[in-house]
Symmetry: C2
DNA sequence: TTGAAAGCGATACCAC
DNA sequence: GTGGTATCGCTTTCAA
């Protein structure tokens, strides 16, 4: 049988109150008593029951994270950053992928709420924000990842800047017809990067309607990218000479199709990804991409959460364009 | 304030017992009553308190997973498989990376034990197994990933077969000096794959001491791979013509160094990875690798856990060699 | 500094 | 089918 405070108390010849004190306010206990209690705990292999503790204390030691997709390295790097910050406070991480599926997200948040998580880090989808208000009502704070909102603290990237850097670069390399393969439209980062792209075109004194052709993809897999490439390249009269993809995985799909068709990169088609995943530099055609300090972002998000930062804190990291062969290589 | 069963009961004009019945044995409640209670729950935005429930029921709705490294796609694919299985039962996943650090692992398991997790899926390190016995004593079942043991159920790959397939392939391609870059020695899969490699050499009627030169790496990053390549290639008098790496990331490091040195792959150095991560086929030199059904493995592990399979169940998936350019391409 | 006892919120048993 | 109530293990006053 699992030993509880009672057993420990009996064994140490003290009351449960004292055992609890040893656990929670060790300084308030006489050294000798404390040592006796600690010995008893060791002998009995005492493990605190978090449920009981939480029930009484009203607070759990778990933090929840809802990420878009646990099989995408970008998000798992975030998870890792979050985890590392939590470890400092001996907190545990509950994770779930939302897959941008509102129902799945709903179920997960429900479960998290039941668990009484201490806080939530989430990459929100279109329908998320209302749900967060319900959590707020229960006193569970949230930090948004890669998305801003008046009502919640957030840590994110300057996606407008990212999109702008990419397209400015492509224009400098002479591209005048650029495809933007965004993720699902409801993703803020999708829209922001497009906004940045448009901005860069305008700044170059060009007409954005003529230069940019964009698509919202249903998902962000390599297959989605490949299909979108086919759709755009075969469907548009004015063929793009460059593809700017929402992430490196999608870009992988574009590269794959180019290779199948024997299109040279970058001379016939330039490709740019986003996230700069570790293998981007090792591809057959090394991929120009945008680097984001993912681990730091996750860490910062957890830190914001734990420090009880106000909902008006919005930390923004600046992305950095990494130019490789897929867009013509460094100047 | 957060509404509890009491509030719901009052509002619905029933007793708390009935509310609990609606929650846990809906069939045992009259339809009319049930609807009334459900309405009350909705109106009050009732959220079950998992702590209280667990305390009483003695069982949590969380399952723990301790994975080697949350930033490695192989492990996150596992996580994803686990998560998908848990979702079926409305369970949540607590994850942590052990980084093969015994202390970190210890702390995490402690935390998980306190949480009263319903079960554990773990990629064990050298020191893990004792710790699991403590969990066993608390009635928390574990399933080992990628590792076998008499005392626990497991789901894994046949790593001996994987190693054997790789080296048989390399020998067929004429390689007679093969470097094996294993992960840390205490990892069972490291040792098993080497065993398989040796077996293949012996089966070919060759002397394994002459053919195979092996190293245990401290970690499994691209940098570790790169460093090990330098160590072996520059350090050994008989230069290997092929490198068999513990995973694709390590192989990436080897490829990187080859490229820096201008060594042609595969004519001067053949490279084989393991795991067949999604980008393996898209590398500058597409990487020969060993495919493992990661998602299925994770799913199966969670399934084993939830089905309460005995400790004598050892599910083994067979890996599949995928031959690409880095080892000379398909025959 | 230590002990006794109330109570966190849901469950499950036993009456009715 | 429904209601009353002891109980899970721990924390936290309050008194001694």
């Amino acid at each position: 049988m699992r030993a509880g405070v009672k057993d420990v108390a009996k064994r140490a010849g003290v009351s449960v109150g004292t055992v609890s004190n040893v656990l929670n306010r060790p300084d308030a206990v006489a050294d000798a008593t404390r040592e006796r209690v600690e010995a008893a705990m060791r002998e009995l292999d005492f493990v605190r029951n978090a449920s009981a503790r939480q029930l009484r204390a009203g607070q759990s030691t778990a933090v929840g994270a809802v990420l878009l997709d646990l099989s995408n390295p970008f998000y798992t790097a975030l998870a890792r950053g979050i985890e590392d910050r939590l470890a400092l406070d001996n907190l545990t991480l509950m994770v779930a992928s939302s897959d941008q599926d509102p129902e799945r997200e709903e179920r997960v948040l429900q479960l998290f709420a039941e668990q009484g998580i201490r806080g939530l880090v989430i990459t929100p989808t279109k329908t998320t924000k209302k749900r967060l208000e319900r959590l707020d009502a229960f006193g569970i704070p949230s930090v948004l990842l890669d998305s801003q909102s008046k009502r919640h603290a957030s840590v994110g990237m300057d996606n407008v800047s990212g999109g702008r850097q990419v397209v400015r670069h492509l224009i400098e390399r002479g591209h005048r017809r650029i495809a933007y393969l965004g993720g699902p439209e409801h993703l803020e980062q999708s829209r922001d990067r497009l906004a940045g792209a448009v901005q860069a075109v305008v700044e170059a004194g060009l007409n954005s309607d003529e230069v940019i052709v964009s698509r919202w993809l249903p998902g962000m897999s390599a297959d989605d990218g490949q299909r979108a490439f086919i759709d755009v390249y075969d469907g548009e009269a004015a063929k793009p000479t460059a593809f700017f993809c929402i992430n490196d995985i999608v870009a992988l799909g574009v590269q794959r199709e180019c290779r199948l068709r024997g299109y040279d990169m970058p001379s016939r088609v330039a490709v740019v990804g986003y996230d700069d995943v570790p293998f981007a530099s090792e591809l057959m055609t090394p991929l120009t991409s945008v680097r984001q300090p993912t681990h730091e972002i996750g860490y910062a998000a957890a830190d914001l959460l734990l420090s009880g930062a106000g909902r008006d804190v919005h930390q923004v990291f600046r992305p950095e364009l990494v130019i490789r062969a897929s867009s013509g290589g460094p100047a």
